[in-house]
């Protein structure tokens, strides 16, 4: 715990204006990410889980600078990212990379695999052309592809192979952090396991950190060391994986665990939310964002938004009652 975090996120917000009419008047705000804090240490995997639309992917894109953050600070290896420009930004790009969810749209259909994996080396001027060639072959082997397939086009590969290409591209510059945005949710279950094992191997060998964005609790339990649960743009609980899965503390974490499908048919049950009102990032309730669906909600929850506070066992929870 004494080690300084590689990545520190404080109060990150991403708000999108909703504009309407000819004058593009702002009529509302989508609060996709609404003030989140977390840290990522060297060589660890932190998972961001939550339902669709809770802002987990937006968080990843904002960290990459692909979506403009509207507030908060992100510190990477002691440097603030928000102010990065020019050379500093380029060096940050080399050190943080991203793997996308959709292995089909994340590779340019008109480029050969060789050129796709080479692109980061070309952009950052790494090595001589001969060295880049060797590096491409080496990367392909590293992610389990045959280097003699380098001249093929993406459509000649299966989904799992394409995801490997995406991973090879992300690895090319030897980044310290890879943001994995639902890297396996578009794949078949058997292929998912292969890709997850590849990611685990790479972490063991290269010491890279993952920010692993997923909605699949089974996958998250398999790969992460710590888990952050997001709900409507907020982190409601961060804990070590085992602690979180053994005893979910926040009522939302509990609901999430219960609603995950079980392999045992006798364990199956239909879970109903305690309210028909499903809040969204455009009409976020006052106070705790979860209170309309929370079984423990009291008067206080409708007015005061609970802060993320530390508990005895080291976990962080944002709840008035637990």
């Amino acid at each position: 715990m004494s080690e300084a975090p590689l990545l520190q996120v404080e109060g990150l917000t991403v708000h999108f204006p909703i504009r309407k009419g000819v004058l593009q008047r702002q009529v509302g705000t989508v609060r996709a990410v609404d003030g989140i804090d977390f840290t990522l240490k060297r060589g660890e995997t932190l998972s961001l889980v939550g339902e669709s639309g809770c802002g987990k992917s937006t968080t990843g894109l904002a960290l990459m600078g692909l979506v403009k953050a509207t507030g908060g600070t992100v510190t990477f290896a002691g440097e603030r990212i928000a102010g990065l420009r020019g050379a500093a930004l380029r060096s940050f790009r080399r050190r943080v990379q991203i793997v996308f969810q959709d292995p089909f749209s994340s590779l340019n259909p008109r480029q050969r695999v060789r050129d796709i994996i080479r692109a980061p080396l070309d952009i950052h001027g790494v090595g001589t052309p001969k060295e880049r060639r060797k590096r491409v072959a080496q990367l392909m082997e590293r992610v389990g592809l045959r280097p003699d397939q380098a001249d093929n086009f993406p459509h000649q590969f299966s989904g799992g192979q394409r995801q490997r290409i995406g991973i090879a591209r992300a690895l090319a510059l030897e980044p310290e952090i890879i943001i994995c945005d639902e890297p396996v949710s578009a794949l078949d279950v058997s292929v998912q396991a292969q890709i997850l094992n590849l990611l685990a191997d790479l972490q063991r060998d290269l010491g890279v950190s993952y920010l692993f964005i997923s909605h699949d609790l089974g996958v998250v339990e398999h790969i992460s060391r710590r888990v952050a649960v997001m709900y409507l743009g907020k982190i409601v609980e961060i804990a070590d994986r085992d602690a979180l899965f053994a005893s979910p503390t926040h009522p939302y974490t509990e609901l999430l665990m219960k609603s995950a499908p079980s392999l045992d048919p006798r364990q199956r049950r239909i879970f109903s939310a305690s309210s028909d009102f499903v809040p969204s990032a455009t009409r976020k309730p006052a106070g705790c964002p979860f209170h309309p669906r929370c079984p423990l909600a009291t008067e206080k929850c409708t007015t005061v938004d609970p802060a993320l506070t530390s508990r005895d066992d080291g976990r962080l929870v944002a709840c008035h009652h637990r």
Partner: protein, 283 residues
């Protein structure tokens, strides 16, 4: 470019055959044409088709087949230069406009609108009137008229393509906008550009003929199809042959380019390109 079974596509085959024939005639004109372009034979005016004169002769007894063949050169040069120029300018404007968006898009969009606001043929007439006739001036006039079409189509494609994950990935890698536009976006926008260009060749030939017909093309005795058609109409009542032949030359050529364009559109269908096209291997 992958062309899955191009020979099975009748539009493409017929269009390509006609285009090849016309281009062949134009390139080999001195060998294909039995007579000189300006070689008159006053005793043989308005002769009908015969073995001696395949398509007959005009009001000065000049061999029509020879004039059509040399006219193809003029038409094709103007078509290729104007379409090439228009596609180049329009593609660059469209890519920049679509990729950057915001005020860049707004400014370029308004400029495009200004050009679109003029009726095409009037604008071309005005430009030729100012610059004077000549192959390059006519081409320039057609570029000014036609580039907006490419700009609009390419802008639309760029708007879609810039949201693709592979463009996001390139941005995440720190690629420059120039690299993203030309390496990631342009190759994927080529399909519609190629189709538009092949259809545009036909339109350019019609426009050039229209300018010549109105007397704003190359001045006589240049054997342009449009001017032959124009003065052919004067003798329409007694000797319709002249107008029919030159009109047919225009029609067949335009038809050829349009069939070629239609065929290419089917063959380069983005749905066929993005997923299918080759065998898939399994993990």
């Amino acid at each position: 470019m992958r062309l899955p079974k191009p020979l099975r596509n009748p539009s493409f085959v017929i269009g390509a055959a006609i285009t090849l024939f016309i281009v062949g005639c134009a390139v080999l004109a001195p060998y294909v044409a039995p007579y000189g372009v300006e070689q008159m034979d006053m005793r043989n005016r308005f002769a009908g088709p015969s073995l001696e004169h395949l398509l007959g002769t005009d009001n000065f007894g000049r061999d029509l087949w020879s004039r059509m063949v040399f006219g193809a050169r003029i038409s094709l040069i103007i078509a290729v230069v104007s379409v090439g120029g228009a596609a180049l300018i329009g593609t660059v404007v469209g890519l920049v406009s679509g990729y950057f968006g915001g005020w860049v898009d707004l400014v370029l969009g308004r400029i495009t609108d200004i050009f679109l606001g003029f009726p095409a043929i009037i604008l071309a007439l005005a430009i030729v009137a100012v610059l004077g006739p000549g192959i390059m001036n006519v081409s320039l006039a057609l570029i000014v008229v036609f580039w907006t079409e490419y700009a609009r189509v390419v802008r639309g494609a760029a708007l879609v393509l810039r949201e693709q994950n592979y463009v996001q990935a390139a941005r995440a890698l720190g690629a420059s906008p120039l690299r993203i536009i030309f390496r990631e976006i342009l190759p994927n926008a080529l399909g519609p550009i190629i189709v538009l260009a092949s259809l545009g060749l036909g339109t350019a030939i019609i426009s050039e003929s229209a300018l010549s017909f109105l007397g704003f093309g190359l001045p006589p005795p240049a054997p342009t199809w449009g001017w032959t058609l124009s003065y052919g109409t004067r003798f329409m009542r007694d000797e319709p042959w002249l107008a029919i032949v030159s009109g047919a030359a225009i029609m067949i050529t335009v038809l050829g380019f349009n069939l070629l364009g239609d065929g290419l559109r089917d063959l380069l269908d983005p749905r066929q390109l993005s997923r299918g096209g080759g065998e898939r291997r399994n993990d």
